[in-house]
């Protein structure tokens, strides 16, 4: 079966017509005159380790699927089985919390998607997905940072936020990106002591240079984030007791940070200038005993899906202007390996959520699972470049003009609009 479903995200035609750009005082501006320039939001979630896309959005209608994944394939069943999407693809049951979004068409998937670079190294593949320049190892900035540099700004210190204590590669670069600790609501350092802050502020405020500006920017971001997180009125009515978790370092598994959706939504809701956020999760490298409907993979998908549902609920009225992208550096082998797991592969499934998404559909050029359809007889090929998807999200949903997109993904030319052709 050769399934050729192309993306038609541009029922967004209405949005597209608004995205014509006019040169403005900051280089460009929206043409509809109504849009607040920070009203379009973007949240990027990176799953580090190589999520097994073939068991997240499973091609259960393909005759090969059960054969090549004898112990890990998902099955339809009366209860707890895979969730049918279009009688060819089915969704992992752990994603049930976001299934309503699929039904109301604000959740879409793009299958067989990935980097054009053939590497199967986590190290290289994550690097390329974060730099946005596959194959070029010396690219020093991340594409989200380049995006922030291209966005019209109100000089908010919290326009862009990365969850975690370390600025990830995707956010590296000259544009300011604030960091917010996962789980902990408020991070305090010596500078939170009034006397310390007062003395250093006096020292740095006299500097009429970039170091002085950096200090002011940093203090403002730090205070804003702490204010947002300390505000007594939470946008959630239910108890937050379970949200108090011990902070983990690095890319924690979603189990260790189940309240990420609530925390992100709180940041966006309480400060209108927050426009871009990034969070990453580890634990997707399922070489051994990944399970099927239940098991290791399900154990990671479940808190992720719950968090996403929290996020959408928490965003409330902002959701219509928000794009949420979930991606992973590569997919895994089509065949199950000898240990009940899967090894590093290529094509994967990208998830798109948001008010501007023409969802309820699985997009992408999915060629089937027969050996000849696979890359090197083993992996789903990446038939859609991940940047093609991101280009549409940024261009049509965030209204980033073409000239700016060329800075975000230098050297990348979408081969036609894969979403509409």
């Amino acid at each position: 079966m050769n399934r050729r479903d192309f993306l038609q995200l541009a029922a967004l035609a209405s949005f597209s017509s608004l995205s014509l750009t006019l040169p403005g005082s900051r280089g460009w501006a929206y043409s509809n005159g109504k849009d607040d320039d920070s009203s379009k939001k973007l949240i990027v979630i990176l799953l580090r380790g190589g999520m097994d896309g073939l068991n997240v959005i499973a091609p259960y209608g393909d005759s090969q699927y059960q054969t090549i994944r004898p112990t890990i394939a998902l099955h339809k069943s009366a209860s707890g089985g895979l969730i049918d999407l279009d009688s060819y693809f089915g969704m992992h049951p752990a994603l049930m919390p976001i299934y309503p979004l699929f039904q109301e068409k604000s959740l879409a998937f793009v299958h067989a998607c990935g980097s054009p670079d053939p590497t199967r190294s986590h190290f290289d593949a994550q690097d390329y997905m974060e730099s946005g320049v596959p194959g070029k190892k010396s690219a020093s900035t991340g594409w989200l940072n380049r995006l922030v540099a291209q966005l019209p700004s109100k000089h908010s210190p919290v326009q862009a936020i990365a969850i975690g204590s370390v600025l990830p590669r995707i956010c590296a670069g000259p544009a300011a990106v604030a960091t917010v600790a996962a789980n902990s609501k408020i991070s305090k350092g010596a500078l939170d002591r009034p006397r310390v802050e007062s003395a250093f502020s006096e020292m740095y405020s006299g500097l009429n240079n970039d170091i002085g500006a950096s200090f002011a920017e940093g203090m403002a971001a730090h205070k804003t984030v702490n204010q947002i997180m300390a505000s007594p009125q939470d946008i959630y009515s239910d108890s937050d007791a379970k949200e108090q978790m011990i902070a983990n370092r690095g890319a924690v598994s979603p189990n260790a940070y189940p309240n990420f959706g609530k925390q992100l939504a709180t940041l966006f809701r309480k400060d209108a200038s927050v426009q871009v956020a990034f969070v990453d999760f580890g634990g997707w490298d399922t070489h051994i005993r990944q399970g099927a409907e239940q098991g290791a993979l399900a154990g990671h998908l479940s808190p992720l899906a719950n968090g996403l549902a929290d996020l959408v609920k928490g965003l409330g009225p902002l959701y219509k202007d928000t794009s949420i992208v979930v991606m992973s550096e590569f997919g895994r082998t089509a065949h199950e390996n000898g240990n009940g797991g899967t090894d590093h592969g290529h094509g994967n499934v990208m998830w798109l959520l948001g008010g501007g998404v023409n969802g309820g559909k699985v997009y992408g050029r999915f060629g089937g699972l027969k050996p000849n359809d696979l890359y090197e007889d083993r992996d789903l090929p990446a038939t859609t470049d991940f940047r093609s998807v991101l280009t549409v999200v940024l261009g049509e949903q965030m209204h980033v003009p073409k000239s700016a997109l060329a800075q975000v993904f230098p050297g990348f030319q979408a081969n036609g609009n894969v979403f509409t052709s």
Partner: protein
């Protein structure tokens, strides 16, 4: 347990003991108008892109020769990881010229016994690469076996745990040795040059095998050649298994030949037919020698990759091994230079050719001038250094001498114009204050928080040393928090800070002499003058002056 204590210490270090019992009313919020506009950010991205070929046209303003005291400050700033109390007076007494001469000849300087002891105790940096590879493979095999037996549910967790354990071993020896040397080696310029070359020929601890090889790579390929000939360090990095693994040349083989190499851990790999891997060949020209604008083409990358086919991981010894059966037997042409087929000798010929190419002389000189003089180094200086590079057959000491005798190096325009990298910031604050960590984990954590974890730059271009790369608002606040902890540790009374030992008890004035020879801006001086005594050191180490060098 150890993890927990590391976290605890970090918290201690970053937060420091409470300093004040009285609270003072906050001043009004800092003026936000000073925030950098996105225009500036965009301009910076563009600037960064035009890359290494760009040099400023030199001082537009009239030359501002440094005074003799300022010259002492300049050599201490640039030839060391930051002055220690007493350094200023010492160098002033011996003379700037004599100091430079001694630092250029590290073997003439008696080494600090504590440093020698640490180096001797770090077994992992003295081993043979082949042995480290074997040990690593064994650990992995045992781990896989144990995992199957244990019927484990969560593979990634165990892989993670195993890796963490290894990284811990590495950290205890390699990281600590690096820090002890940077902090207390008397041969400071050698250590500074190790930092320069390691980043020039960068490999990352995060890539598989390399997490056991970084130590021997630095100790055997980089450090012995740091002040030697460029051709030697180029050859040493080329043949070192750590580089062969990092940039994939161990898999680079003439198409169709069998992938029978010791690195192939699975049957799958052993059966696999080889093919060209251009990764190392590309970076060898783009980053290590000619530079991105050095005049090579994609065709040259492929030709050089063909030259390098067959150079892979060793079964014994310190260096890589050449597997003739995997080598491309044809003739190659690199930038118009014909290389006749002669097996391993082709690699020597290609390295000779690249090391002597004028683009390489310029590329290396630019990088050195950027590291030691200015983010956009003066073109005239770079040109003179490149000329010296070519005339001296790539003698690094000679090129540095040209730079250190130049008018530009001792011009006021190029003093305190460099922004410290996180590594330099951490080392200089510890050197200045005389504090030494009882445990090094808080320092590793700080560097990680700053975005410069030790040995973990993912990309082969290494950590940058420019302001554009490191001036970041969030990171700046964390530096100040760090400074507050370091500064207060020296004066904290009962109990003290558990993360720090050997508080030197330096007086504020002694430490002040390490910062720009004691010269601070009037504003910084005023703020410090009116602050209570125990807080002065923190203010000094967190001051704008201390961020630059």
């Amino acid at each position: 347990m150890k993890q927990e204590s590391a976290v605890f210490l970090t918290v201690q270090l970053l937060f420091g003991p409470a300093l004040f019992s009285t609270l003072v009313v906050l001043p009004s919020s800092p003026v936000l108008a000073a925030s950098r506009s996105k225009h500036v950010s965009t301009a910076r991205v563009k600037m960064a892109k035009s890359g290494s070929s760009m040099a400023s046209l030199g001082p537009v303003s009239a030359p501002k020769p440094l005074t003799s005291d300022q010259k002492v400050v300049q050599v201490l700033n640039r030839l060391t990881f930051g002055a220690k109390p007493g350094d200023f007076e010492r160098v002033k007494a011996m003379g700037v010229k004599a100091y430079i001469a001694s630092q250029l000849n590290p073997s003439s300087i008696a080494e600090n016994p504590a440093v020698e002891a640490q180096v001797a105790s770090a077994e992992i940096i003295h081993k043979k690469s082949a042995d480290l590879i074997k040990e690593f493979r064994l650990v992995i095999a045992q781990n896989n076996a144990a995992r199957k037996e244990a019927n484990s549910k969560d593979a990634s967790k165990e892989e993670q745990a195993m890796k963490q354990k290894h990284i811990k071993v590495v950290a205890d020896q390699i990281f600590k040795t690096r820090l002890v040397r940077a902090l207390d080696s008397e041969r400071q310029l050698q250590e500074v040059m190790v930092d320069f070359w390691y980043n020039h020929f960068n490999i990352s601890i995060n890539k598989g095998l390399d997490h056991v090889l970084i130590g021997v790579y630095e100790e055997q390929a980089i450090r012995p050649n740091a002040l030697g000939r460029f051709r030697d360090i180029l050859g040493a990095t080329c043949y070192h298994p750590a580089m062969l693994f990092y940039l994939d040349n161990w898999q680079n083989a003439a198409p169709g030949t069998l992938m029978v190499v010791p690195g192939g851990s699975t049957k799958d790999k052993a059966k696999k037919k080889g093919g060209l891997n251009e990764n190392y060949a590309r970076e060898l020209m783009e980053l290590h020698t000619l530079g991105v604008d050095g005049g090579y083409t994609q065709k040259d990358v492929i030709e050089l990759a063909r030259v390098l086919t067959g150079l892979s991981l060793p079964t014994r010894g310190y260096w890589g091994q050449f597997y003739a059966v995997r080598h491309d037997q044809g003739e190659k042409v690199i930038l118009g230079h014909k290389i006749k087929a002669k097996g391993a000798g082709e690699i020597e010929e290609a390295l000779d050719f690249l090391a002597h190419h004028p683009s390489t002389a310029h590329h290396i000189s630019y990088a050195l001038a950027q590291y030691f003089v200015a983010d956009e180094p003066p073109k005239a200086l770079v040109d003179r250094m490149a000329k010296r590079f070519s005339e001296s057959d790539g003698d690094i000491k000679a090129v540095l001498t040209t730079m250190l005798e130049s008018r530009e190096f001792f011009d006021g325009q190029y003093q305190n114009n460099k922004y410290k990298s996180p590594f330099r910031y951490a080392m200089s604050s510890l050197r200045a204050s005389g504090s030494r960590p009882a445990h090094y984990e808080p320092i590793y954590s700080f560097l990680k928080l700053q975005g410069q974890p030790l040995y973990a730059c993912l990309t082969p271009d290494g950590y940058k040393n420019t302001k554009e790369a490191w001036l970041n608002s969030d990171a700046l606040l964390k530096r100040i928090n760090f400074a507050t902890a370091i500064g207060s540790a020296n004066f904290s009374s009962a109990g003290g800070n558990r993360a720090l030992s050997q508080s030197s008890g330096q007086s504020y004035d002694q430490v002040l002499s390490t910062v720009n020879g004691g010269q601070l801006s009037s504003r910084t001086s005023a703020v410090i003058a009116k602050s209570p005594e125990p807080f002065k050191m923190s203010l000094l180490l967190g001051s704008p002056e201390f961020m630059s060098y």
